[in-house]
């Protein structure tokens, strides 16, 4: 029997694939060594090592204020979107929801509608409600942007484990609320936590809506980065970009660990269910 023929073709494909991964990673990763260069003028390779631009970031009140504002907005949006999205996911999977098709359409709305359209529309309404440049405004806007991702993540977690387990709890006399907190929630917990993580990252990185609804002294980190890129490309930005990239790697590793935990839990729950039935 002939195995896959044409080893040359396969090698070419492999080479192309790895070249594309280099293309994907290189522009972001090349910033990391450059951020440690001593000169005001970014170079690759850097001719020296210095923490100067990191110090500059930590000394600059405007950078720090923007960072804390983004952290606040991210945490509030993550909690808000996770709560609201988990409740909706439950209604979609376990409930009899009137107008289900329309609601499903609304869930994907914030992803389908271009962010610039939504950003300008929010800007218009938020100006009139005096919500621009406020934490409440950002929390509301980012919660809505993160909701589709939360709903899909929690839906996936709910579909992954056997609904019979919750029904068993109900038929043993537990009410729907107790059934949820004692059976369902522990099983989908890793999914809910990774949904919250998604929501936080979406809010923390969100640039377009932030660009429009930021205030003069209440702006998010992406908005501050945007201004800095636009007016003066200082190496402080390279330091900020490096820290954000490392943060993303951390978040991805955490997300991966959560996914593994969810798979183990689903497998364990299925095993237990099998013993009884």
């Amino acid at each position: 029997m002939r195995a896959a023929p044409n080893p040359a073709g396969r090698m070419a494909l492999n080479a192309a694939a790895y070249a594309v991964t280099v293309f994907l990673l290189l522009p972001t990763l090349i910033i990391i060594p450059m951020s440690f260069g001593p000169e005001r003028f970014l170079q690759f390779p850097p001719n020296g090592f210095s923490m100067r631009w990191y110090l500059e970031y930590f000394r600059d009140e405007e950078w720090l204020r923007a960072t804390f504002f983004s952290l606040e907005a991210g945490l509030i949006s993550a909690v808000g979107a996770t709560l609201v999205g988990t409740l909706l996911a439950l209604a979609l999977v376990r409930g009899r929801l009137p107008g289900r098709g329309l609601i499903e359409l609304l869930v994907v709305g914030p992803v389908i509608v271009p962010h610039v359209a939504l950003a300008v529309a929010m800007f218009l309404v938020f100006e009139q409600l005096r919500l621009t440049g406020t934490l409440l405004g950002f929390a509301m806007a980012h919660t809505v942007l993160a909701l589709p991702f939360v709903v899909f993540t929690v839906l996936a977690a709910l579909y992954r484990f056997d609904a019979e387990l919750e029904r068993a709890a109900l038929s043993c006399g537990a009410g729907p609320v107790r059934g949820f907190f004692h059976v369902t929630l522990p099983l989908i917990a890793p999914g809910v936590v990774s949904a919250a993580l998604f929501a936080f990252v979406i809010s923390f990185d969100e640039a377009v809506v932030s660009f429009f609804i930021s205030g003069l002294d209440r702006k998010t980190l992406p908005r501050k980065m945007f201004e800095d890129i636009d007016y003066n490309i200082s190496p402080t930005l390279a330091a900020v970009a490096t820290m954000l990239t490392l943060l993303t790697i951390g978040a991805l590793l955490l997300g991966y660990a959560l996914k593994r935990a969810m798979e183990r839990r689903a497998a364990a729950a299925a095993g237990e269910g099998g013993d009884h039935g």
Binding site: A4, L88, R94, G95, P98, L106, V116, P176, S194, F211
Partner: protein, 288 residues
């Protein structure tokens, strides 16, 4: 044993009333923060200062604006084509890898997907600006005498946008290719099909849903993209999102900005409805 029905439960499921209660916070938020703002903006474009389609006519009739819209379509199409060409080999090799190899390739796709768009756009500016890394190296290697103008050109916008949107192309194609058993291609080749014929007759038709989904996602995202065109393209390479921003922030012409948004929305919704089945958002979550 039959479970008792109650306000909260209807047989094995939550009752309609309980389900609506669970969905209520979502509905409230989506109405107030999503539907209402969009409706207000579109109302502005249709009724202010007087009812009519004059803002839409202006957007589609004046050559300046028409040029921006054509450029937007052209760039979005180029970005989609470039992303497809780059994504295919990566998705193919991913679909035939296991273990560490797959983990590394997947990390290469997921890290950019979750890295801030601003960080990635900034990286391209550092590479492409007048005194940027690319120009430094071109001169160091003696390939050019003076810095080339790379930033604020259409190819730079296409390249950077394709880079930013590439994960949205790779992931759906990878999902589709992963579902094709290796036996299929082996069987085709044992029956005498050439590599090209087995690609054309077996792999491509089975991968097509993933390809459609990826192309649609990238094209839609590219049409409304703001950050990368604004910074890499500058005013010279204005796309529709940058034009909307300019109308709002510099001209304070909300009605005209609303009309531009209306045109963009109509286009995006039309494409979404036509390719309804290709819009598979679930592919982008739960992958991390």
């Amino acid at each position: 044993m039959r479970r008792p029905s109650s306000f909260l439960l209807a047989g094995r499921r939550y009752s309609p009333a309980a389900s609506l209660l669970l969905a209520a916070p979502f509905l409230l938020l989506i109405v107030v923060v999503f539907l209402l703002p969009l409706a207000t903006l579109l109302h502005e474009s249709l009724f202010l200062p007087s009812p009519g389609l004059q803002h839409y006519e202006r957007a589609l009739a004046e050559p300046v604006y028409l040029r921006v819209m054509l450029r937007t379509l052209r760039i979005a199409a180029q970005v989609t084509a470039l992303a497809l060409v780059l994504a295919w080999p990566l998705a193919w090799v991913m679909s035939r890898s296991k273990g560490l190899g797959l983990a590394l390739l997947a990390a290469a796709v997921l890290l950019p997907l979750w890295t801030s768009v601003l960080v990635r756009t900034y990286a391209w500016m550092v590479l492409l600006q007048r005194n940027g890394v690319v120009n430094q190296w071109l001169q160091k290697l003696g390939l050019t005498d003076e810095p080339l103008k790379l930033l604020y050109t259409e190819p730079a916008v296409v390249l950077a946008m394709a880079h930013v949107l590439l994960p949205f192309m790779v992931l759906p194609i990878y999902s589709a290719l992963k579902g094709i058993p290796e036996d299929y291609t082996r069987a085709a080749q044992m029956l005498g099909a050439s590599a090209w014929a087995s690609f054309r007759e077996v792999i491509w038709p089975l991968a097509l849903p993933g390809v459609t989904s990826g192309c649609l996602m990238v094209f839609l995202l590219a049409l409304g993209f703001f950050v990368t065109p604004a910074l890499i393209g500058g005013p010279q390479q204005m796309m529709i999102a940058t034009l909307v921003s300019q109308q709002v922030r510099e001209m304070l012409d909300w009605s005209f900005a609303g009309a531009l948004v209306g045109i963009l929305l109509a286009f995006v919704l039309l494409l979404t409805v036509i390719f309804r089945r290709a819009v598979r958002l679930d592919r982008f979550v739960g992958q991390g």
